[in-house]
Subunit: 401 residues, 2 copies
């Protein structure tokens, strides 16, 4: 690995007492990795000035770029400024505050970094090794990233790379991994990594220049097809919302084992009231019969977790709501309730629309929480394919078996 | 602070690339804090043996107790065993494997630690400073904690303390903070900390002995009343489930702005199908009218976000379902849709049961995601008070205004 050695120093008493899970470290590490700058170490310390100075001095002795978060505010806990000045062996000075920011001391020679979401500016000191100080509030730190990224690009021009994130759904990490490896074989200087969630994998591509990045992007899309649902930070629920808006359609969900999780995901997007018509969580059989019009005899004959019931749920809701498209889910989240024929994790999902109903059986492994996430992602993906490619797309992307 | 200086060393390439957010560090730090052993530093490094050895050597030079996670498995990435042996300057030996575990090398003098959830045992080396190695898989590491805790208690008997977590709902962190401070004033050796989520705060009490802990617990409960809903790890949704089971009641929710979030929280608990009857997510006004029987005129007169509509939603669902108790929510999650009279964050929530309907207006600050969490917690808390204390309890705990 070439390029500057990068380390992170995350400060805050709440981080080392386990009260708060640090998100600044993973955020910065992921953004650095996408620039081609691997982070070699993250150190988390409390609010004690001595501990911060010691950890900063050690990091500066090892690294070329050290990014510190936390402790820039005005309270007594916020000792990062003097602690870092001591680690650098530079005096503190008081520069003119940036417009809209609170005055604050910085180590001599530091340049301030604008904080668009807060009043405490960050700072950047180049002492051979670059030391950057950012606030600990995650949304403030994240809002400062674009300016920091461009400073890092200027300071380490040979090391940084071009990057893009492609978000996929419906493939297992291993399968996608193999397809991407094959697609990118022989491309000089192109690297990639993945972030895997249940049934949803993000691909992070990096390349030495924009042309190579576009070529890599095109190759990956040829290889994995429309498993790619978006670029960057757009979520799957947002993507489905954008597609529904494009068609002028409204959606309704009939959920059993997901307990409203698909509806909750769809409505977490601002403006979802424009296209989410309703949801019925038919946890009891009575609710399936009364609120969705599923025939009682169908449940008695096939069981509540079955293809006929999933179809009847989706079709019943299509009739009883004003939605243009409906999604139904009935399954066994576990840990109990499974049988030999229908083990824990079995789920039937149906999409009903003007041109008919599509239903598939899936088995979603994992504990109750992961089962729900997988099922929610699968449901959103079925809606995505139904909206973009109709019944034919569903048949193609969700083969029986 | 007396007691041994404790540090954590979390290893794994996924941790320093930002692909995975480390949960082992916060888990261990929280458990250690509850024993009265503050963690002074957490270091995260990748899978490189050199980096692990260097970080371990540095930690051993500073600390009395170092706990390492990750890299005990059989793959090529798992280099923790030799790296730690080198840091300790001890040779690797091959002890008889624990029953049911895979053979594995350990530094000379180490005692193995049983891994009830996996095949790789951990180990404990006492070289003046104690070094503990645990696997990186969170559920394996967490299952090993009880044995590790008892070993730490034996090794550092003067330092460790008695601890208990009281979970509260409905109070703001600051308010609770003040009440607990007053309640525990003058109690020698009793400390406490909080973990705050939107509208739900966990209190972690520690004391030097069991009698002092019980006294502190009693004082806190006298001070904060039934804001305490459970001890330890029991969630609010689980608590509501236990209460419903105790009464033999079933619940149904009528949700607008939470999009099914309350239903999803209730059904995340295994066995929830015994007491969750159904939910209706009436995102559109048509759904409120058709699925819940809210009179159209009521919506036209008062608006969908209003007390009369919240009451009609809860009462309509009580009539139309087989639930014994219903909860309704209608509000403005934002970021748009607010007015001067009903700003973003305004929510009306009603509980309907055999002895009538109770409705209150709340304003839940925060962005869309935090608004939903607050509203879900508030709704579960309203159910809790309704089940345990009836309408009188709701009137007392949710005063108007």
């Amino acid at each position: 690995m070439t390029g500057p050695r990068t380390e992170l120093l995350l400060t805050g008493e709440e981080l080392v007492t386990g009260k708060v899970v640090d998100s600044n470290g993973p955020f910065l590490a992921a953004r650095l990795a996408r620039m081609g700058l691997p982070c070699l170490r993250m150190t988390l310390v409390g609010d004690g000035g001595t501990e911060i100075t010691a950890a900063a001095r050690e990091a500066l002795s090892r690294a070329d770029l050290v990014i510190v978060s936390g402790g820039l505010g005005p309270t007594g806990d916020d000792v990062t400024r003097p602690a870092l000045a001591e680690a650098l062996q530079r005096p503190l000075t008081s520069p003119d505050p940036l417009p809209g920011h609170r005055p604050g001391t910085v180590p001599e020679g530091a340049r301030q970094i604008d904080n668009p979401q807060g009043s405490a500016a960050g700072f950047w000191v180049d002492a051979g090794c670059v030391l950057v100080a950012l606030p600990g509030v995650p949304w403030e730190l994240e809002a400062m990233w674009p300016e920091l990224e461009s400073r890092i690009r200027s300071r380490f021009p040979d090391a940084v790379r071009f990057a893009r994130t492609l978000r996929t759904v419906g493939r297992m990490e291993k399968e996608l991994d193999g397809q991407v490896r094959e697609a990118l074989a022989g491309m000089y200087g192109v690297t990639w990594g993945v972030t895997a969630n249940p049934l949803a994998v993000d691909l992070h591509l990096t390349a030495n220049d924009a042309i190579a990045l576009d070529e890599a992007d095109a190759r990956v899309r040829r290889a994995v097809g429309d498993a790619v649902y978006a670029e960057g930070d757009t979520s799957l629920a947002e993507t489905v919302g954008i597609l529904l808006r494009g068609k002028g359609w409204r959606v309704a969900t009939a959920e059993s084992c997901t307990g409203g999780g698909i509806s909750a995901a769809l409505t977490a997007v601002p403006g979802a009231s424009d296209y989410v018509e309703r949801a019925v969580v038919s946890y009891s059989n009575a609710a399936k019969v009364e609120a969705l019009g599923v025939p009682e005899a169908l449940i008695a004959e096939h069981g509540a977790v079955s293809e006929p019931v999933a179809r009847a749920m989706a079709e019943g809701l299509l009739t009883r709501s004003h939605a243009d498209i409906t999604l139904s889910v009935t399954g066994i989240a576990g840990p109990t309730g499974g049988t030999a024929e229908k083990p824990v994790g079995t789920v039937f999902m149906a999409v009903a629309g003007p041109d008919g109903t599509f239903c598939r059986r899936f088995v979603h492994a994992g504990d109750r929480a992961r089962f729900v996430v997988r099922t929610v992602n699968r449901g959103l993906d079925m809606l995505r394919h139904r909206i973009t490619g109709g019944m034919a797309s569903l048949e193609r992307h969700f083969p029986p078996g």
